[in-house]
Structures are given as C-alpha cells and as structure tokens.
Point group: C2
Chain length 199, copies 2
C-alpha cells in the first residue's frame, strides 16, 4: 500500500530496540514530514559510525583508533583493571571519579537464555589483556543481576586460577537509603557483608 | 568521553520521537554491538527515502512518483474526497474497505499550541484539489480530538463557502461497545446524533 522506499524505511526502523511496527511507522512519518534534516543526519551518522568505530584492542570499547585514548593515557593506573558489562557502565564508573585505573568492557554478559555463553563473550581477549604483566588487581563491576552475578562468578574462577587478585564492587544499602524502603535481600546482604569500624 | 562518531550517532538518534538521551545511548550501542546489518540497512533506507519520497501532487501523501498510484487508479470514485490527518489514518480508512473514493492527506492538523495554523497546513493545495470540477463531496475524517475537531470545523466553513457538499464521519458508540463502559461525552453525542429507524 505504501511506496517501496517508505516500507523499507519503516521495516528498517524496527531493528531499533523497543520499536515495534506502530512506532516504526510513526517515526518514519515524523522524520519525513517534520524532521528531514534530523533524518539526513541520522542516516549519515549511522553509516559513518559503522565504518569509523571498532573495538579498542586493549579495553574492547568502541574507538576510532587502534587503542582508545583512555587506554593510552599515562595518567591512569595500569595496575588496576575494572571489568564492566557495557560502555555505559564504564561511563557511570568514570562519573564517580573514584577510580583511576583502566577498564575492560565485556560488551555483554553471560546469559545462557539469550545464547550468550563464555565463548560468545570472547573472554580470550580479556585473559590476554590481564596477562600483560602490569595488571595486579581485577575489579569485577558487572551488574548485580542474575546474569551479571553469573558473569562475575565465572570470571573470578577463571582469573583466580591464573593467580590474579580479584575483587567485586560492594553490595549494600544505597547512599541516602532508608532501611524501611530497602528490599529484604539487599538488607540481608548488607548485614552479611558488614564491615568492622576501626578506631 | 566517547569517540566523536559515537557521540554524533547518539545525538542523531535523539531526533526520533520519544527517544531521549538514555534510549539514544542504548540504541547506539545495540546497533553497533548487536545489529550492524540492521544499522547499515537503516542508514541506507533513511537516505534513500529522503531522496525518493515526495508529496503526491494530488493527495499530498508520500509517493515516489509525481502522482501516487491511488490517485491515478481508474477504479476509484473521484467524486468523493476523504480528508485525513496522516497517511496512517488513510491506511486505516483503506483497511475498512468501506470507502472507494480518493483522499487528501493534511499531514497534520490545526494546532495553535504547536504553531500549526491554517497557513502552516498548506490548505491552498487542498482547495485547489477540491476545485478540480469532479469532486462533489468532501468527507472530513480528521480525529475526534480537540485539534481534529477544530481542523474539521475550519475546513467545513472554508469548503461550504465554495458551495461544496461537506460531511463528517459519525461519532457514537463503537461497534461491540457497552453503554456501561462508554464515557458520558460519547454517550451524550450518540444520543444527540441518534438516527431514525426506517421500515
């Protein structure tokens, strides 16, 4: 019923996460009718990003060079390596300004239900990265979801077998959190992982 | 913090309706990491649609030719012209298989709050279309929202002044609707616009 190039556009928009047939149609008409400049920019930046970006040879995040700026920076502490699931998580860590080491981005997590096993995650690259003779501690900062936990567990076994010091970011009451509103599981963990107060 | 081409892509994705900074980021990473083929297709079909599609000279919907297939079809009744807000509405009308006339797509509605007055809607094109000497009745099928109603009202005044027969699609209880669950406004309208039963 629609012209071919319009149907092709609507169909292509469905590749975006969370976009079904109805939203795809709405997006296509919006772009064509109200924001042709934005559509042009989107089309060009998609094709440009696909050719320009590749995984950093060291930390696996997206970069335009062989190795990303952060990995090359002499100001970072190369003895400490933080493993995160996604580049977004890496950005969140950076925003804390509480970590000055380097990162490794898994670009996913172990999730057997989605067909993502250890092989699909490409963990060889992480193991090679860790074996550079400089890294002394690996901090596992995967999510505290079931998949993130499974990934952290798998990685810690793998890394400890190689004699590397492994740690996991702490679990507990969020800053500003009130016990009344924290779920029982979190509270139980906070109790189990309580710290001695010194001094 | 991100490479330039990645930031450009995230920024460009924000032009999609309903997509904010967080979704844009998620979409960019999804495309780059999990669906490069889809991203390639989306980029190409966007640029292709922008050059291939233009408004039909007669009905104003998107078409790849000067005049769209429907407007050229000899099987359609050219004396009846149905005015709708969007191509989606036109497709909905077609799905009813209850109308065999031609269409005019406003590509919007009168909405002063959004800066959409009669001038921005380009109603000259509709008036020129109606003056072809063949159209006998204009059916206003804009939405029954405030904006759609205002548009229908404005158009009916404009068209009636030119001696054209104007009608509006009926308002009332939906098919399968139960009085118990219909809002009072709809029920009041259905009462006011009741039809005599013949025979």
């Amino acid at each position: 019923m629609n012209p071919g190039s319009l149907d092709a556009l609507i169909d292509a928009l469905k590749c975006l996460p969370g976009v079904g047939p109805k939203s795809a149609q709405r997006m296509a008409y919006h772009l064509l009718q109200r924001d042709r400049k934005g559509a042009q920019k989107l089309g060009e930046s998609l094709l440009n990003a696909l050719t320009a970006l590749r995984p950093c040879a060291r930390c696996n995040t997206f970069t335009e060079a062989e190795v990303c700026e952060r990995c090359l920076s002499p100001k970072r502490d190369a003895t400490s390596l933080c493993v995160v699931e996604t580049p977004v998580d890496m950005n969140m860590m950076e925003q804390t300004q509480a970590f000055n080491g380097l990162y490794y981005v898994l670009m996913g997590r172990i999730s057997p239900l989605d067909g993502q096993g250890p092989t699909q995650l490409g963990l060889d690259k992480l193991l090679k990265r860790v074996d550079d003779g400089v890294v002394q501690e690996v901090i596992l900062a995967t999510n505290y979801t079931n998949e993130g936990e499974a990934t952290a567990h798998y990685l810690s076994e793998l890394l400890k077998a190689r004699g590397i010091k492994v740690s996991r970011i702490a679990r507990g009451i969020p800053v500003g959190g009130e016990l009344e509103y924290v779920d029982a599981g979190t509270l139980a963990q906070a109790l189990r992982e309580r710290r001695g107060i010194e001094g």
